[in-house]
Symmetry: C2
DNA sequence: TAGTGGTCTAGACCACCCT
DNA sequence: GGGTGGTCTAGACCACTAC
């Protein structure tokens, strides 16, 4: 992999190091080259390298020990299992070891509900694009997700095939928008007849419900999402740096 | 507030800026001074200041707009409501607007269960200190938490009064250990008779169950925790940076 | 004692937004 | 054009760990 200038160095180095960890160039538990050596090898300054390492450390992927070295965290086996930024359900399903698939149940325009309008900072009744999808792990439904986008943001006609896209790619393609941050509320949701219908089987245990709002760089809400998540089949795991 | 050298500049500046945001020196939605001005005012380099701002931006507390300025995120009203590092239930309860209290139900040594031993990397039957607590919001139980610490880590006799301490302070006081990162699994937990007993009232709706393991800098597990969390009274909210 | 990561600086140049 | 944040560098010194 060649370092190219136009893309920020930090991004390039970040993906490169992630690849090396994934591909076991740096195996779990092993020590990375020293910061000076790595910086020299990559032809970048130590300061730049350190911003990359700081991010990886914040995610728990590496552990840095002063006076000793930087190690690959062997307790974070799969670095994609984590819930966090730049994250989508399909990748999560796959890194849990399943084959992932998406079933688009609906993709249409309709008026926004009160709750949706409030979340999206639009007026109730304003048109939104509603995208209802079921995520399958090895053919079994594990997540039912509804995402609602203000129709005013949609630039062109929506190709139904793009219902397969992760939501952040969908936003990029149709709205030219980039997600800056997301706010997620987590609740526990009792089984209900409508969940049985959606999942196509009786749900006789509680599910997790994730309610998300995604914002862009200007702090405008882009998407309101609600996902019912079967944690018995798919682990929801957070890794949090401390301090 | 005076800048002192011994404590890392980054920490001092970080807490200072958080205070200013909390105290509305920089009100919600307002623009902060430019990086150059702020750095000059605080007598630090722009690079140092930028590492602080990067962290605040990653938490969603501020928004940085190239060519424009840095703004206080008005959508993250209470910057402590977030689930994340350096975080404890008492503060969470208080920032949700309740008066918080802790009831210590048990604080004793006992053999570790299979599951606890596996999580803590000790042998089943090895002694652990078990700390069972109920967190109250305005007198109402909202969280039931059990924390288990390998007895081998405990340096001295435990004062029952210290059952009130947040777990990271407890670790610091009795084990001389600092938490480096935490891994949390989130599940939904159906109501059950034992929950009714613990909470002292019928729980006829599902709760969230958080299973946490805390690690130190050497990647050794310090605490295994399991908390039943009433999300109907206390919101569990994540703020995630994207990208 | 040598080598590691941790902290911090001063300054350069760029991309972008506003007017 | 002038100011803002974004990127990146080169180098200094410190704190800590392993040997």
């Amino acid at each position: 992999m060649q370092i190219q200038r136009p893309r920020p160095l930090v991004d390039q180095v970040s993906t490169m190091l992630r690849q090396r960890i994934r591909n076991r160039v740096y195996p779990p538990g092993s020590r990375l080259p020293s910061e000076s050596d790595l910086a020299q090898e990559l032809g970048i300054s130590r300061a730049t390298l350190r911003t990359v390492l700081a991010k990886l450390a914040a995610e728990g992927v590496i552990l840095r020990k002063q006076g000793d070295g930087t190690y690959v965290n062997e307790r974070i086996r799969d670095i994609d299992t984590r819930y966090g930024g730049e994250w989508d359900f399909s990748r999560l399903i796959e890194s849990n070891g399943y084959r992932s698939a998406i079933e688009t149940r609906a993709l249409d325009r309709r008026p926004a509900s009160e709750r949706e309008a409030a979340a999206l900072a639009i007026a109730p009744g304003d048109a939104v694009l509603a995208l209802v999808r079921i995520f399958l792990a090895d053919g079994q439904p594990v997540i039912a997700a509804t995402n609602v986008i203000p129709a005013a943001l949609i630039g062109r006609e929506v190709d139904p095939a793009d219902g397969q896209l992760p939501i952040h790619q969908f936003l990029r393609a149709y709205c030219g928008e980039e997600i800056m941050y997301a706010v997620t509320d987590i609740e526990a949701q009792a089984g209900a007849p409508e969940l049985d219908r959606i999942f196509g089987r009786p749900i006789d245990y509680p599910l997790l419900r994730l309610t998300e709002i995604f914002y862009n760089r200007l702090n405008q809400p882009l998407v309101y999402g609600r996902s019912d998540y079967d944690h018995t089949r798919l682990r929801l795991r957070l890794v949090q740096p401390w301090g």
